[in-house]
């Protein structure tokens, strides 16, 4: 009724949705909150994060399409919103590729910076700034192995051990990086 009226008059920006639509969407959001909380009690291994993100995305879409009226609004708004999400996906995906797979091409870059490594001996090295990320790429793959270990930073020994086996170790890690398109596996 009110819906049909708004659909027909494209020019009008007054779009009043029936009360029951808001109530139904609100109820769906509360039910999904309950579902995601309950489902977290069970262990689906590496799928836990995907299940949680899928449910969260459904909730976000309900909010965007109904509460934020994206479904009825000028498609330009939806495009704007999508550009934000796509940019974010690219941003996270590229970062994850870098941090998880650094060293796949050049093992020298995988772990902590080793000042004695061959590539650092070149006279030109260091002119263009340096790699600030020393501990990241290596420490991620030590976590599966030494979760029971000391609660201090990964030691240098673990790091150099981790360097060079980045690829196998990342697939061994139990939890996947979150984000829709962020998985690099």
């Amino acid at each position: 009724m009110a819906q049909a009226a708004a659909h027909s008059s494209k020019k009008s920006h007054v779009h009043i949705m029936p009360l029951k639509v808001y109530m139904a969407v609100g109820a769906a959001l509360l039910i999904l909150t309950f579902v995601t909380t309950e489902i977290a009690q069970f262990d689906f291994g590496e799928f836990n994060i995907y299940i949680a993100l899928v449910i969260a995305s459904i909730k976000a879409m309900l909010v965007a399409f109904f509460f934020m009226h994206l479904w009825w609004d000028n498609k330009l708004m939806f495009v704007t919103f999508s550009i934000g999400l796509i940019t974010l996906t690219v941003f996270i995906a590229l970062t994850m590729v870098d941090t998880m797979d650094r060293g796949s091409i050049n093992p020298e870059t995988a772990g902590q910076i080793n000042p004695k490594a061959e590539m650092y001996n070149s006279p030109d090295f260091g002119k263009g700034g340096h790699h600030g990320d020393a501990e990241g790429a290596a420490s991620h793959d030590s976590t599966a192995a030494d979760s029971t270990g000391a609660h201090i930073d990964s030691t240098a020994a673990e790091m150099s051990e981790g360097a060079g086996e980045g690829e196998t170790a990342t697939s061994g890690a139990g939890t996947q990086p979150p984000g829709d398109g962020s998985s690099t596996h």
Partner: protein, 216 residues
């Protein structure tokens, strides 16, 4: 639709041709702002992804320190506030000012509830020393760099908390506007834009809750 066919409604600014154009321009501007908000939070989501990928076991252990009941309650509170916000806009569209004010006050009350619950969560963590970075002094967690989890936790929920605070300011402003009779079914752009912002704040929490409280 508009009775003022050739007249110039008081809410229409002189650089716009007609009310529809003004409303669409405001909406596009708001969506562009929301886009920057997504990217602002996106940096933190990215940090979360990186650190979680590096320290999956530590993230699991550390997240057990968060109170799922309080987190879930806050999710329900924020979703309910989104419903009352949407209904407040609807009430303004139908020229029901009184109803709109009550719904806005309810939205404000839910936002307050959210922050009060957040305050209790925070003060508990302050008390235990589960703080970001070098301020971390909690000793009950094994594993690599548990302070990193709490840095991410406080940055994400803290930035979100400030957005809730900002939203409360906007909602208060809208209560004033509606009670002064400035908004109606003819012109309700300000409250509609406040709603868009408020729903985005809700949407971000929808992701924060499972990512921080429900890591399986």
């Amino acid at each position: 639709m508009h009775d003022v066919a050739d007249g110039h409604p008081s809410f229409l600014q002189h650089h716009f041709f007609e009310p529809e154009q003004q409303a669409e321009a405001a909406k596009l501007g708001t969506w562009l702002f929301l886009l920057t908000e997504i990217l602002l939070f996106g940096g933190l989501f990215c940090a979360y992804a990186v650190y979680r990928a590096w320290y999956p076991d530590m993230f699991y252990e550390a997240h057990l320190q968060l109170n799922v009941v309080l987190g879930a309650t806050n999710t329900v509170v924020l979703i309910t506030s989104s419903v009352t916000m949407a209904l407040a806009i609807r009430a303004v569209q139908m020229n029901k000012s009184k109803q709109a004010i009550w719904l806005l006050v309810a939205t404000l009350a839910f936002a307050c509830t959210f922050l009060v619950i957040k305050y209790f969560e925070y003060s508990h963590k302050f008390h235990l020393g589960q703080l970001p970075g070098k301020y971390y002094s909690f000793t009950g967690l094994e594993g690599n760099n548990p302070h990193v989890f709490f840095s991410v936790y406080f940055l994400m929920t803290g930035l979100h908390g400030f957005h809730v605070l900002g939203g409360m300011g906007l909602i208060t402003w809208m209560i004033v506007k509606v009670s002064k009779g400035k908004l109606s079914g003819e012109y309700y752009t300000p409250i509609e834009m406040t709603g868009l912002y408020w729903h985005l704040v809700d949407m971000i929490w929808i992701f924060l809750f499972p990512l921080l409280y429900l890591i399986g």
